[in-house]
Amino acid sequence: AMPQKFTVLLDWFVNPDHGPLFAAKYIGAYARAGLDVALIAPTDPDLPPRLLAAGKADVALSYQTQLYLLVDQGLPVRRIGTLIDKPLNTLTALGGRGITTLHDLKGKKIGYSIAGVEEVLIGTMLKSVGLALSDVTLVNVNFNLVSALQSHAVDAVIGTYRTYEDIQLAQAGLNPVIFLPEDYGVPPSDELIMLANLKALDNPALPKFIAAVKEGADYLALHGDAVLAQFLKDNPSLNDRLDIASWHALPGAFAADPAKLDAARYTRYRDFMFAAGLIKKSLPLDTYAVEIKA
């Protein structure tokens, strides 16, 4: 039979975070599942869920933090799988500038790149050390996270990834001081998740796709270097020190079982979002996330 067309919108540019998806492709897992998978990279992480909701894709990558906002605004999307089941986001300052504890941020400037939830994350983290949002100045630096930090335009930034920007800062010898949100009162969340359109949840291709991704993740865990070689060949612009380091930092973060839904984690994060006022309604778990069974 002809392989079925299956469109996957990545969350952003192709990067090592997408390792399992590419691994599955390289080992022919999609083809064996009867799927002709197209991995499309948008330039703006806001696009994929909307295009998915508009019926322009079968699966879109997004973030668990974003999921609640999407559903709250009535977008017909559900989480159906997890690609990275650890939070990667960090609050980062530069070493040697007098910031060693969160408390040192009092009176400082914190930069962020708008994703919708930063104020709440920072507020929660500060609260855990007895500070309030009003004790710091927030600056939206959009796509300038690293350069804003490096040029000392801000004292700390939130939104850097422990598997990316933090590595880069370390490589540049800047001794980043890293604060993990989950250490300061923010409930842990899945970083990178797979969404499907509500109307297509019964699409028989979905479980096949997720199973193929699991194959990819399994293969990646064992043969990371082989996949990397092919990945760099396909994406020559990623062939640099930082991306390779990022590749090697990621394996522990990939979900071993992409289909599995950690109900407690999703419920807790929903409550966190609701309490913070980021969502207007606290809906049952299955309005946000489902587990796809083959």
């Binding site: 806001d46 909307r50 508009a54 605004q73």
Partner: protein
Amino acid sequence: MRGARPATTFLVFLALWWLAARYSSVPPFMLPPPGDVAVALWTQRGLLLANTLVTLAEILLGLLCGTLLGGIAALGIVFSPVLQRWLMPVLVVSQAIPVFALAPLMVLWFGFGMVAKIIMAMLVIFFPVTANFADGLRRTPPGWLDLARTMNASPYAMLRHIRLPAALPAFASGLRVATAIAPIGAIIGEWAGASSGLGYIMLNANARIQTALMFAALFILAALTVALYVLVDRLLRRLLYWAPDTTGG
């Protein structure tokens, strides 16, 4: 009846929008119906007003500085072949640099305050002004310049009393374009990093998928742009009372 015509335009536009939102296949989280946007406009009026003022200030300052800079650059280009040779490529290149490439340097030099945003807006605005104005200055009818020469006009007087007014129609074209793109210039400035302004509101609303709020801000921006354009256009037409206008057939 004054104002009847713009009002009709506006109503027709609302009707079209409503029809598009209602009957097209575009989902509401991409194009919310006017009603939702009106609700957002009203409930968020405080937020929107405060941020509109910020953006308006950026637009006006950007327009002012951009026009001044453009004017000066045009004069430089027209009066000095050397400057023309060196400046023009730089100006052309400046138009091709995307925000995200420039933003880090802007941040480094000017921080995240108003200055960086006004500079970004200027960068967007000044080229149409420069190019049009320079073309206009270059096209002064030679007879007038000859006349001025026999009258012992200083280069400055010649500029002030002959070349400038003669270039006014071309300058007006440039200023019209600049006015239409000044708002997007300010938005791009806010994009590169800001904590207030309509662009910031839009980015934020976009990330939170508050489409109605985003369109409310967009609506204000559009209204602001049209109002500014109409104002500048009227002003320019008044200044150009003497230029031929052979519209229509």
